[in-house]
Point group: D2
Chain length 308, copies 4
């Protein structure tokens, strides 16, 4: 079935295929320059660090709605096992984990979604096999360090948390940017706060999932025009859900990942960061959210670190 015109028109306008050559596999992360990283490092004033990753455990946000994307099951391989048999000498404890790579705080690899048999930059979708993503896998991103900017849409709208299903608009981003007193510029990583994470932290992972506020079709060109390097949200679905159009499922995923080649993240805990930025008025900072180097992976757990 053909995509509706509201989608195809946006796809045409935001498309970045070929912009960084026919062999590019990292898309808008090409916009992160050494100069941008120097700029980010220069923002470090107090030396304060904040971690944005949610705890990795069985109490994670997955409900089983996405088959097999399980919360981390971490078990012990050994507990104080004496290497020589003598417990007064060297003993060690080890563990093992099974988890969906997209289960907790994570980045989607560009190859995570496709449509009409295409990935970002026009690579065929069937370059993904049982062995993983031959193209646009998460391992193609060596580091993800840049200037981070918090766009606290909830605060800019004067609420603790946007209502479930709220479709964030370009005007909302403008307002959040104004609140931040920062101009988002090429290569920035935008952290987009909806406040939805509060539901997870209150222990209600079902409510946390759906309905969810999030970026809409109306924000796609905003990110494209500002040449943002990556965007992450504090919710499960990334974009607004249920979708704006009944016959257009998760279109923002397709426009960001496939058309723009813009890496996106989910389940970032932005609550403490939002308090911190409101308190000191500094909404731009050094951010390291580099992937774990899973070969051929479609996503990666990440513990994003802010240094201010």
């Amino acid at each position: 079935m053909a995509m509706p015109e509201v989608f195809t028109e946006l796809a045409r306008r935001c498309n970045n295929w070929g912009r960084w050559g026919p062999n590019d596999e990292i898309g808008t992360l090409n916009l992160v320059t050494d100069a941008k990283v120097r700029e980010a490092a220069a923002l470090v004033r107090s030396g304060r660090r904040l971690a944005l990753g949610i705890p990795l455990s069985l109490d994670g946000p997955q409900t089983g709605a996405i088959p097999g994307r399980i919360n981390p099951v971490r078990t012990m391989l050994a507990i104080n096992a004496p290497l020589t048999g003598d417990p007064t000498q060297f003993c060690s404890s080890d563990d093992i984990v099974t988890m969906g790579l997209q289960a907790g705080t994570h980045w989607d690899a560009l190859a995570h979604v496709s449509y009409d048999n295409r990935l970002y930059n026009g690579y065929p979708a069937d370059t993904i096999t049982w062995a993983g993503a031959a193209r646009c896998g998460i391992d193609k991103i060596r580091t993800l360090v840049s200037r981070g900017v918090l766009l606290d849409v909830a605060r800019a709208k004067g609420v603790d948390r946007l209502p479930g299903g709220y479709a964030i608009t370009a005007e909302d981003l403008d307002a959040a940017e104004e609140l931040a007193r920062v101009r988002v510029s090429p290569g920035d990583v935008v952290l987009l706060r909806t406040g939805q994470m509060q539901l997870f932290k209150q222990g209600d992972r079902v409510a946390y999932g759906v309905p969810s506020p999030g970026p809409s079709l109306g924000t796609v060109m905003w990110f494209r025009e500002r040449d943002v390097a990556a965007v992450a949200t504090d919710n499960l679905t990334f974009e607004v859900y249920p979708p704006e159009y009944d016959d257009l499922m998760l279109p923002v995923h397709l426009l960001h990942l496939v058309e723009m080649g813009m890496t996106q993240g989910q389940n970032f805990d932005l609550e403490e960061l939002a308090e911190d930025c409101a308190a000191d008025g500094q909404y731009a900072f050094l951010l390291d959210a580099s992937p774990q180097p899973f070969v051929g992976a479609l996503g990666t757990p990440v513990n994003p670190i802010v240094v201010k």
Copy 2:
């Protein structure tokens, strides 16, 4: 069996129990101050980034010698699965991994080793249960950002790679520090290069494992006196192996983790970094090697990021 005096004497001298209070669970990471992080950020000159994590895949360094500590098995949960049933619309690909938390580039949690039923700070070893480490688990370390210093012992000794089983001495550290033209100071994270990683990168994981050069009993007080926050190596065993004394297994682990409360890392790929530091003469840099927030875990995979 009682520990030999060479060990107990060192244990007494390097011990940090109680130094940061009876409830402390992160040990020498207390030495990473905001000022130290500001100092590290100020070292960023070019904006260049390097990633030190080895690839996460079945081709990892584990040989089966440590039961259950398996290299990452990453498999696909879905490949271009059409959400609506229509492949011209939204399709997604997901993956899942099972891996030993200490299988690749990783930090050992302080609780990773014990002897005589004691963990760091005197916590009973049986605070580790099937549920994980109630004390000194990796989740107690929220961030691990500091000034990193490369001590390239191999280069300082004029070799590509230290011989298997070579016991690094305090004098070797002095020489590497001199090469670096940096004075290691409280709160620094030391990256200790032996060159052993070359064996792994050449594809020989058996040779990579044992015998291995590494820090010895002779370097423990050096790290203690400099008040280093954490130490990581480019080998599998961390310390020299086979051990210096037949009846004293992995004593450096015990002195670092249990007595000093100093977090230690293994399998850091320091090859590219060593080339880079030799080229620009800058051996100190901003380092983010924050853990993944696994609740109660005995270790964590990490992709350490250097910014210069």
Copy 3:
């Protein structure tokens, strides 16, 4: 807190500790004699076979209520991977599974439950470590072949399915035995049908779980006096749930496994078997429900096979 007298009295009466010697680890399975197996084999008339295991997949009965006991996650390790690189020659497809051993149709090992630090036969509960069950693990049961007897309590009571929370009585077992026209005798394996499995097969795994009909305190001595070798049910909780007494959680588990040393099974699909037995009037048959030989395991998946 001391156990209530209704429990301790039953515990005293049904206890089998020492009956098969101080080193016994299989309890009532000792009652399965060669003669009993000959008797069972002689019941084979038509040669018809029925399998009682429910499908092993993500659609299993686990809801997440028991942390970590996950439904099977089976993924592909390879899909038509050409061994020589040439797809016209040998290609192979492999898979891997992660699953709770008690997730689907399974036997509980005798060591699965304890109270007051005791397992069956008086073994200390702390003989179970991270390495598994040193005593009474599932691997101590080499084979589990015997005469199986279906006690179709639902049918005997004239209903399709016993109501949720119904506590089966000894009289109910008598009635089901009368329906079966079989006298349960030492060494038999009883398959106890409540009809609860219908809820699972209708796709409602939440309703399937709780509330559940099942054997009660009132049936314990019945099994003990008949010297049954093992009992399995067609529900998730095995015994009636919620429990008969608010302050006595899962007492039948404790009496069966710890006091009697009677292996018990759950999630057996008895629907087709019940139809078959009603049709031919043969409620006793050859049953093979031998464990998978997991070393030190606390349970085992099983696909019980009936031959009639």
Copy 4:
């Protein structure tokens, strides 16, 4: 590359495609009739049971040579965890396993191998996807109960163990049949003993793997003409390895699974059974080796049970 004629000629002769209709997915298991099972049950004389599954643990036969096919990693989800918080009341211990479905004693599903994009009965190989085998998966085999016949080739040749790389011939099968004093007939499951399992039981899993004795191209028509339902061996590679022809990898797999549709098993421990059969002279028996019902799986662990 075209297959050599020695292969294509055999493929033509042994082919069973269409024999049980165009929709058949179980091949020669169609030959197991109720009458055959009655015949098998009638062989039960003593009631003695033997289990042929090797222990499931990290000490399994996998060496890492087949990527991801890992030996079972079984860990504890809970150890004597008190449900109410009170350890004098109900406590439970649970475990979880990750394992290759073809890691231990197992059956290959017919879909396990393909060539030239074809599975058994002509199904396209691409009916296997990330979701598993849509055709000829192990779940299509509901039960696998039949008369088992031990063909002890090693004993018939007067050796404890056939030499590594020995290619079993049709004459060897004749000799083993003569030793057994049984005529293999349609629907029988043949257990083929080479003695290779001794190497595994002696603790040498590398030697156990390769080189290995096993059935050769010369035995294919023997199994086809006798209309055997399934064949299992006591080695890792099933067929002789290294292969008879340098340019023909694992041809017996292809002929058995793809052309004949004959399910095959590996890593069956036939040592105790061989002793038993030699002692009582009874080489035919009731065998239950039914799969675990993994949905869409390419293989299944099995604990084959012999009743004599």
